[in-house]
Symmetry: C2
Subunit: 209 residues, 2 copies
Amino acid sequence: MTGVRGYHHGDLRRVLLAAAAVAIEESGPAALSLRDLARRAGVSHAAPAHHFGDKPGLLTALAVEGFDLLAAALQTGDSLLEMGVAYVDFAVRRRAHFEVMYRPDLYRVDAPEVVAARGRSRAVLRSAVADLPPGPGAAGGAAGDALAAWSIVHGFATLWNAGALPDEAGDDPREAARAVIRRLFGSRVSDGDVRGRAAPPARSPRTPA
Amino acid sequence: MTGVRGYHHGDLRRVLLAAAAVAIEESGPAALSLRDLARRAGVSHAAPAHHFGDKPGLLTALAVEGFDLLAAALQTGDSLLEMGVAYVDFAVRRRAHFEVMYRPDLYRVDAPEVVAARGRSRAVLRSAVADLPPGPGAAGGAAGDALAAWSIVHGFATLWNAGALPDEAGDDPREAARAVIRRLFGSRVSDGDVRGRAAPPARSPRTPA
DNA sequence: AAGCATATCTTGCCGTTGACAAGATGTGCC
DNA sequence: GGCACATCTTGTCAACGGCAAGATATGCTT
C-alpha cells in the first residue's frame, strides 16, 4: 500500500475484491471460487488467502465495502423518496455487494468492521425517516415508518435483481421504485425532482447454471 | 413410488428433498452438499444424481415444491392483509424453500415445472389484490397495488430471515408484518382477526461459517 | 414360472476447490 | 549489509460435483 505498485503485484487486495464483484455479478455468490479470482488477477491460487484468510473473509471485506458504499449512496438523496430510490439504485448497480450484504451465511456478520459499517448505513436511513412528517393512522411512529420504508425498497430491489417481477414493471428500476415508494407514503413524501439522472441499467440477465 | 417402500430405499426423492431443506436451514444454500444429503439419507454419494441429475436439478425440485407450498399458504388468508401475513409466515417457516425460490443462480428458473408453479402462486396474489378497493392518490391501479404489496412483504420477510432487523422489531414476525402492511394500505385493508394462530417461530439464529 | 427390460442404487474415478504448511522473494528499517 | 516482515509461490490433502460402469431389485410379458 505504499504507492502505485506497493509490492509484487500491487494492490492485490483491491484487485481481488473488484474481481470478486465481477464474478458474483456474472454467476452469483454460490459459484464464487477463490482460485478463479487468483487466475483473473494473475497470481497463484493461494495468494488470496494471505489477504482475506478464507472465503468468508473475502466476502466479509466485500460486505464492509458494500455497507460503506450504501451509506454514501443514501446520503446523496435529500428526501426520503429519493433515498429510497437511491437504495434500489445501489442494489441494482452494485448488485454483487448487495447480494452478499444480506446473506449472513456467506460471511462473518459479527465482525467489528461489519457491525460498524452496517451501523453507519443504518444511521443514514434513520435520519431521513426522522424528517418525515407524522402520518395519519400509522401507529408505531418513526420506527414503524423506517421499517416499512426499508421493507418496501429492500423487497422491490431484491425482486428486481432476482428477475422475479413481471415485464409490466418496466425497464427503469428508479422510476418503478419511485412509484412503489409513493404508494407507501403518499402525500407525506415530497415529490422532488422526477427526472432520471442516468440511463437505466440493464435488467438482471443472469441465467442459472 | 408403488407403496410405502417403493424401492430399495423407499421414497428417496422425498427424503432427499426434506434433508435438503433441513441442511439449508442449518447452514444456508451455499454450503449444501449432495454427498452430505446422501449420508443423511443413508445412501451412496451418487444416489441423488439419479433423481435430480445434478445440484441445480435438486434445487429446482425444491423451488417447485416451494412455489406450490406458497400458493397453498396464501390461499388460507382471506383478506389481502392476512395474505401478506401468510407470505411472511411462509418465508419464516419454510425458510429453506423461500431462500432458494428467489435465487435464480441456484436452479433452473426456466424449467416448465417452475414456470407453472410460480404462475400458480402469482395468480393467488393477484386475485386478492383485485378485491382491494381502489385507493386515493395511487396511480397505477391494481398492478401498482400488487407490486407494492409484494415488495413490502417480500422485503420484510427477507430482512427478517437475514437477521438484519433491529431488536425493536419484536419476536413475532406475523405481528410485525401486520403492522407494516397496515402502514401501506391503511384503512383500505380490513382489520380482520388480529389473534395469532400459533406460537411465533424462533428468530433466525444462523451463524456464518 | 421364467426371463427380459428397466428403475434404482453402488462403486470407482477424475478434475476442481478450499484450506493448510513450508518455502521463496521482495521491501523497509536499523 | 543484514535483519524482520509482508507478500506471494509451490506442494499437498480431504471433500465435492459429476460421470461411467456395474450391481441389484422390481414389474411386465410371455
